[in-house]
Subunit: 342 residues, 2 copies
């Protein structure tokens, strides 16, 4: 049992062979703050993406059916039963022969609030399956850091052969928008009965959803679930048409009784086929890659600028003058930018 890190070719061979231990180690590299780990992670991902074995058909526009993988965002307010739902959907997919990766984006998890997916016992059957790979949210200072790590992890699990990537998010803020920018389809789980103002869901999140599913439609909650379904069906009709050309589906399900799960999966497949046909799926992935490219350039540029010693010196000298109104912000910015040899 050597503690030596595998080499890049060993990582690549292991990931391609579907070795879960090697895959887990590679994700740990992506999540690591150490520069040598980051460099190795980049090398691995670059080679996996460039490899002939990789199928970028869904990206380049050459539509093969089905594309190599689908990335599904799953969100909903706390208490809606996301873990139980993911267990039910994941097991359904495993039974269909799919290979399912479950990731999470939860920037609060490092603040000890109890990470989503941290407790694998909530997905007991799925985590025992050989066809499933579950990874809790990376911890990170910022949503930006967590997002970047998750996006690279998606590439790794896809290279390892997982064809269905479920990305869970907490459902209460900015992280939904982030996950929306790295997934193909957006699934919002809802509780029986209450409208979105009572479920603590922001209107913008309802607008992002491609599929809305009222969970816990079982026992004496069936009637309430149908009421919620009618409410959201009406709400989605009032929304502006989506650029994907897709009309959001509103469904009910019970993760406990395992009802409605197949219908949700069929809606996802239908969504994928429809958007592959009209070109939106491909165009969306291109736009997402562009977005992350711009974000990475922006973050790198700012990091280099604000860590530059001469910039820092000028900043600490000029900032008080700007705040006190003695120097124009624009003139001060010009002086600081000069220190960066611009």
């Amino acid at each position: 049992m050597s503690r030596r890190l595998p080499t890049a070719p060993e990582f690549i061979a292991g990931i391609r062979a579907g070795n879960r231990v090697v895959l887990g180690q590679a994700i740990t590299l992506v999540e690591s703050a150490r520069p040598e780990h980051q460099a190795l992670a980049r090398e691995i991902i670059a080679q996996l993406l460039n490899a002939a074995g990789n199928d970028p058909s869904h990206v380049t526009g050459t539509i093969r059916n089905p594309p190599s993988a689908i990335r599904i965002a799953i969100t909903g307010a706390p208490g809606v039963g996301k873990s139980t739902f993911i267990e039910a959907l994941g097991m359904y997919l495993v039974e269909q022969g799919k290979k399912v990766a479950v990731l999470a984006v939860d920037p609060t998890s490092s603040v000890s609030k109890g990470s989503i997916l941290g407790d694998k016992t909530r997905m007991e059957r799925l985590s025992a399956s050989e066809q499933a790979f579950i990874r809790p949210s990376p911890s990170g200072e910022s949503l930006g850091g967590v997002a970047r790590k998750t996006r690279e992890t998606i590439l790794l699990v896809e290279a390892a052969g997982y064809d269905t990537v479920l990305i869970e998010t907490v459902g209460v803020g900015q992280s939904e928008i982030t996950v929306h920018s790295m997934t193909d389809v957006f699934l919002l789980l809802l509780l029986p009965g209450a409208g979105d103002e009572l479920q603590g869901i922001k209107r913008g999140i309802v607008e992002m959803a491609d599929i809305l599913a009222v969970n816990k439609a079982d026992g004496d909650r069936v009637k309430l679930a149908n009421q919620a379904r009618a409410y959201y069906l009406n709400a989605t009709h009032l929304l502006a048409p989506k650029t994907s050309g897709w009309t959001p589906r509103v469904l009910t399900c019970s993760s406990q009784e395992n009802t409605g799960i197949a219908e949700i999966w069929h809606a996802i497949v239908e969504y994928q086929q429809s958007t592959l046909e009209n070109g939106f799926f491909t165009e969306n992935r291109r736009r997402q890659a562009e977005y992350w490219f711009r974000e990475a350039l922006d973050a790198g540029l700012k990091a280099a600028f604000f860590s530059h010693p001469a910039v820092q010196a000028r900043l600490s000298e000029l900032e008080p003058e700007v705040l006190a109104g003695r120097v124009s912000p624009f003139a001060a910015a010009e002086i600081v930018l000069k220190e960066f040899e611009l």
Copy 2:
């Protein structure tokens, strides 16, 4: 009649003496795209801000009463009567001995949609007053460009002795947020009768307002105006308390019959006194200066980066690879950033 541009000392002397022609020329420098004009504008503003005659009391926290100038945002949906209202409020202030500058932020004006304030005939009396200075919106490719020019113009008109700066904006989008970030108080004009969904006003704009005034409260519209006042009074009660500690005032007025104008001015004065006392006024100006400093740094950094020839070459080489999914956005960003010697 020489066409020679005045020198920086001539500009400064002219502006301090309240010479409107020189002030107008200085604003033209701020609005110019020519680098030598920009440099001269920066020199003028830097010297005006640094001068002993400038009173930064409202900024540094040493409260004198009244502070040198107040910056007032005035917005509302098209058709609400902004120009007529500004004429009425401006004339009221001129009669009180105030010196009033009227600026506008309208990023659409360059797209020939008919600039607000472009037609001074809508403010006939005010534009004839020696105590008033009216300047239409600078044209500009982007809201960012227009905003920067307007913020520098505020400094110039204040240096020329204008103690009340009214900044008009179109009321239909992002420009309100921009104007909010450069003013002390936010005044929203409303039409009699209809709620905000019918007035085309975004909820976020209602939330920014410190004073809401139902205009056109005259003739048979008085009853409708009072209904609107009651509606918005209720709406503002439902909003979260403001960090300024101020409870928004909801008033009615008629610009044509000149009623309610004094009451609106008194509410503005009351707002200013209240926020000077609790420190918000000063803190808000500091935060605004900080915001514009960061914006200017960001814009300058990006402009230098994306105009760098080696960066451009790498970008055009790598971007197609990123979009096609063959190269990770993060790896590509790293390569491009290296070209900038980062």
